[in-house]
Symmetry: C2
Subunit: 271 residues, 2 copies
């Protein structure tokens, strides 16, 4: 049996009671750590689970070497832990299909992900349009297609959740060329960096942009953590705000209902 | 302190470890039971929590009589439990705003909701458009505006999650007139009933409908439960399928990527 277990958004205690029971009794436990990150480390998890044999699963292991995960699941219980909910990222659906093809039973223990927890900012989940991802720009790669999706949402009155880029297990070009498994420190896009890229696109689009530097957006950081932070402010102000440690996301509100407007007002900084 | 605690989708053990700790130590615990239902009863929850004083909160209590909830939260810990995640429905954002206005601190312990757990059917969460609600039709009220939203999603290649109506704490017209608090048994729309209403709309729309009776849809039941059930089949076949006990939902797939197509094929019944 292969269990897909969501860990939720915060710390070790955000696992469900049911999930914890499986983790404690499983023969092998893999921790996926490339599509998201946990605020607490592997060691904290191991301590909380009462076992010291968590296996870190990087993209390679899951996408090419899934055999290692699946082998034991044929006869024993294997747990595959994913930060948030297991089915945000395609790769895990792929792993599930491969398991089923081998006749391995699978079960999912769901948890919160940013895709539903973002409702805590007070905007209606039903009124969010397509979720977009804002990638880190480089000197010669500055895509802005995500902005078109925000515009389509705005046209229809929808809010947009912008997921901000995370770079985990990146290698420098030199290390890649030399096939060395030396990784750069992880990077997480901040609300400020996202606002900066958005403002540059808005400037470029001119009158075609449906938002401007004075448009209110909501910067959110560490949703589901004790020190969660949410501020509604004009984009030009978000540019200069420090939301602290990762993960950050950004919400571009569409048409606001009365209660939603109240909620947004509540997130504005008091003068 | 007022805690909003998500209970997840399955049984008592789907609460998070963190949520359970709060429930055990809170002075008062309210269980919201009108926007969704838990498969297990109040008694099961009480047994699992080790306390026998759960207070059922109906819409009246939350929308008009929130004082009762907020009063104790000024000086003590009060937990407000919601099936799924607390911020699917507007009413809870309203309660949070009222608490903050009174200077009461609030915290949210998130959990899975159908809005993110639906990813387990193998379709990418990012590729879902607007979520729609399909209401029970009556003899003289047969709204079909939700179908237009499905059509807009289809035009853009997006999948649609259709939430199916639930009727909890309904009163007959007679009982309402006489102001008697006698409630009808709860009702939950089945996949078959949803397919029936969709097929009637498709027939009415004729060539303007972007799906027909042969279009594949995915019926899902009891997501997150041990006996979760998902079947991909033509709408006309879903009409005659029994998915068992509630809750049911329906997914209308849009443009499918290769992996998504694999996942859908996996959900088709073997001949």
């Amino acid at each position: 049996m292969l269990y897909f277990i969501g860990l939720g958004l915060g710390d070790a205690k955000d696992i469900t009671v049911k999930g914890l029971e499986v983790v404690k009794s499983a023969k092998k436990v893999f921790l996926e750590h490339y599509t998201s990150i946990l605020s607490c480390g592997k060691t904290d998890l191991e301590e909380f689970y009462g076992r010291n044999d968590l296996i870190l699963a990087d993209r390679d292991l899951v996408e090419s070497g899934a055999d290692e995960i699946l082998e034991d699941a044929k006869d024993d219980t294997v747990a595959f832990l994913v930060v948030g909910d297991p089915f945000g990222a395609t790769t895990h659906a792929d792993l599930m299909i491969r398991a089923r093809e081998l006749g391995i039973k699978t079960k999912t223990i769901h948890n919160a992900s940013i895709m539903n927890a973002i409702g805590c900012c007070g905007l209606q989940l039903y009124s969010f349009g397509e979720t977009v991802s804002i990638p880190f720009w480089t000197e010669d790669w500055q895509p802005d297609s995500f902005f078109d999706k925000i515009q389509v949402n705005l046209e229809r009155g929808f809010h947009t959740l912008c997921l901000l880029d995370i770079k985990v297990a990146e290698r420098s070009i030199e290390n890649m060329m030399k096939n060395r498994k030396i990784f750069e420190p992880p990077r997480f896009m901040t609300v400020s960096q996202a606002a900066d890229q958005l403002l540059k696109i808005i400037q470029k689009k001119g009158d075609n942009a449906k938002i401007n530097e004075d448009s209110i957006a909501i910067g959110v950081a560490r949703v589901g953590h004790d020190d969660q932070n949410m501020v509604a402010a004009p984009l030009k102000d978000l540019l200069n705000m420090d939301f602290g440690s990762p993960l950050h996301s950004l919400v571009i509100p569409g048409q606001l209902q009365i209660l939603e407007q109240d909620a947004v007002n509540f997130l504005k900084l008091k003068k």
